[in-house]
Amino acid sequence: MFSSFQLELHELSKHVILAYLFLWGLYVVLYRRIDSISLTLTFALFASLVMHTLTPYLYSIASNGGNTIGIALWYLTFCFINIILIFSVRKAHGIFKLKMDKLAVAIPACFLVATFIQLGRLFDRLLFNTGFIADLYVYGIQIVNLLLIVVFALCIFRGKHIT
């Protein structure tokens, strides 16, 4: 059913959360301060943990007969978590009067791309059901996750220049 590359990607996603946790912890331990990046990393980690925890429950609902409610619940839940993350990052910066770093914008941008992919697949499943979007969904989400790891790592180097 799945190609070996797809299975490898699935295995990879299990370690993505651990990578986020490690890089967030590294930033907190290295700099020990509340700044734009630490705040955004915390929200991104929390959102990823929530999505990771919800995934098996949503999958069991979505795979049960493949009804529209299950499909909608699967894609829209992730989209709403992404929107809540972007909203929280913006609000927190406003409340604490923090200057927003450009890398701090890159993290919500990755989540926005993930939202586009989720919605693209939702529309495709309800309207056309083509295999092309299905592949794009599988690889796209994993690429966004890997991109987030790169951005998390870049944040650690960027932290040196924030004073």
């Binding site: 909608a72 604490f96 200057k99 927003m100 701090a104 939202t115 309800l126």
Partner: protein, 85 residues
């Protein structure tokens, strides 16, 4: 296509609009915060908690305002007290 699918598609479109709008506001805030002098790079949690305890909202704490001067004076008093003891 049934009615529920149409509702889901409408919800999807609404989600798309919401997400784009939220990101637009985020980029706008990034531009505003980089130009405003009362936005800081690192949050001083002590000052933030002091403003909270004094009942001053962060909107009032700007450069050269009475609110900021009150917080700085309070911090100075606390520092003198600590040094004295």
């Amino acid at each position: 296509m049934d009615l529920f699918s149409v509702v889901v598609i409408l919800m999807g479109l609404l989600t798309l609009l919401l997400s784009v709008n939220e990101f637009r506001l985020l980029v706008l805030q990034q531009k505003i915060s980089s130009q405003q002098p009362d936005f800081t790079n690192v949050l001083n949690i002590e000052v933030y908690l002091a403003t909270k305890s004094l009942g001053i909202t962060t909107k009032l704490v700007q450069h050269s305002t009475l609110a900021q001067q009150a917080i700085l004076l309070r911090h100075r008093d606390e520092l003198i007290e600590r040094r004295g003891s």
